[in-house]
């Protein structure tokens, strides 16, 4: 596990949850708040190990629920349910393609609220639902889809700027150099 990358992911999750609670502009403009955690979970599933996914699911979920009226811990399993299948199939996903990131972001951003609401309803909670919730789901899906490539770009930039880079080995070797000389 890359400790630096995991710390960076958790720090980003912390700030993302705070931004969702403090910034009201998307709710005013579009009628729904955009969730950044699904996009971050996709980045984690494609670029980090399962321990990082587990930590993001637990801490991201707890942070989100602590600022919300959600029962504490309800967002952990939906986050894990997004990250785990992607982690299992990550060798088959073209993770560097923005379109692939967009599609995965859309799927994850739609799945996250659906799973959370399903869990709330199964726990005899009474969330605020109606026909307007469909519009909110569309906004969350598209907003999350657009945000995912941005999350990838931002995390990659931070990783590149702050993390240790892998030392690339050159194929050039002094002892194997062919000396061309005139006879």
């Amino acid at each position: 596990m890359n400790l630096f990358q995991t710390s960076l992911i958790l720090a980003f999750a912390f700030l993302a949850v705070f931004a969702q609670a403090a910034l009201d502009a998307p709710r005013h403009l579009l009628g729904a708040q955009i969730d950044l955690l699904p996009g971050l979970m996709i980045f984690t599933a494609l670029n980090a190990g399962l321990p990082a996914i587990a930590l993001l699911a637990v801490f991201g979920g707890l942070w989100l629920d602590s600022l919300s009226a959600n029962p504490l811990g309800i967002s952990i399993l939906p986050l894990l349910a997004i990250g785990w299948p992607i982690y299992l199939r990550r060798e088959l996903i073209l993770r560097d393609l923005p379109f692939a990131q967009f599609v995965l972001g859309a799927g994850a951003s739609a799945a996250m609220p659906l799973l959370t609401v399903l869990m709330l309803l199964s726990g005899s909670q009474e969330p605020l639902l109606g026909w307007g919730s469909l519009w909110q789901l569309v906004v969350m899906t598209l907003g999350g889809a657009v945000a995912t490539p941005l999350v990838f770009a931002l995390m990659n930039w931070f990783n590149h700027a702050l993390g240790y880079q892998v030392r690339t080995e050159s194929s050039f070797r002094l002892d194997r150099e062919i000396k061309r000389t005139r006879r």
Binding site: L50, V58, W63, S66, A69, L80, P113, V117, P127, L128
Partner: protein, 267 residues
């Protein structure tokens, strides 16, 4: 492909989630408060950042405009003083009449100003956090209002902050009274997730004579909200459940979408 330690991580997350979800309510509340207190430094930073443009604008405001504002405020202050004298006279008269009729005296409301710090990040709840808590004397179920009208009630309190559940959230039900000839009473419920300015007033009598623009206030029933707090105005009404009762849409006086400061009411 899937190692044993990976199964361990997966099992650990599921265990933690199930454990937290099955904790007793008091323990969950304490844990929630502890976790949300991590965000306190960020709330302070956000508050400062929000105030900064306003402070900068204040420093560059021309002197002439400031003088105009002072003159306007002086006039307003004079009018309010006159109103206060009239209100005090009415209150004295009210007290005398209550005494002569042997009615219980109404205690004056005590209000405390609070800033709205955050909104619920989930779209399926309508709650906000305010910056007053148990150290300021707050407790659960205290009514929250603005100068325009009722906003909601406190649902949970921490030491330095509290969660307010707003009108229109499924867990904020208010007994309301329509100021018409029939004094019809009903219950305010959630209307929909998108429009925060409208709520449903339901379980009104089927014979209720409702008209657009009639004022809706708290009825005082239920023991949480004192009687007479303005809520909003009737928009339209319809008969439901084959004429069993009437349902009306109410436009709220308070703008729930742009709350910045609210009053906590100590009845």
């Amino acid at each position: 492909m899937f190692k044993q330690k990976n199964y361990f991580a997966l099992g650990a997350v599921i265990f933690v989630a199930v454990l937290i979800l099955s904790l007793p309510a008091s323990a969950t509340t304490r844990l929630k408060f502890a976790i949300s207190s991590w965000f306190l430094p960020l709330f302070g930073l956000a508050d400062t950042a929000q105030r900064l443009p306003a402070d900068l604008a204040d420093t560059v405001l021309p002197r002439r405009e400031l003088l105009q504002q002072i003159a306007k405020l002086r006039t307003e202050n004079q009018q309010l003083k006159e109103q206060q004298i009239q209100t005090a006279a009415i209150a004295r008269e009210n007290d005398q009449l209550r005494t002569s009729l042997n009615w219980q005296k109404q205690a004056p409301w005590k209000l405390k100003l609070a800033n709205v710090v955050t909104r619920d990040p989930a779209n399926w709840w309508r709650t906000v956090q305010i910056d007053l808590g148990t150290r300021d004397g707050l407790r659960e179920n205290l009514p929250i209002l603005t100068a325009s009208g009722l906003v909601g009630r406190i649902s949970s309190v921490k030491q330095s902050s509290a969660q307010v559940v707003l009108l229109g959230d499924p867990s904020c039900r208010v007994s309301a009274l329509v100021e018409n000839a029939g004094r019809d009473t009903g219950i305010l419920l959630a209307s929909g997730p998108l429009d925060t300015s409208l709520v449903q007033l339901t379980y009104l009598a089927s014979s209720a004579n409702l008209k657009s623009g009639q004022n809706v206030v708290t009825s005082g029933l239920g023991g949480i909200f004192p009687k007479g707090i303005p809520i909003g105005q009737i928009v339209d009404a319809r008969s439901v459940e084959y004429g069993l009762y009437t349902e009306a849409r109410v436009k709220l006086n308070a703008s729930l979408g742009s709350l910045e400061q609210v009053w906590v009411l100590f009845p």
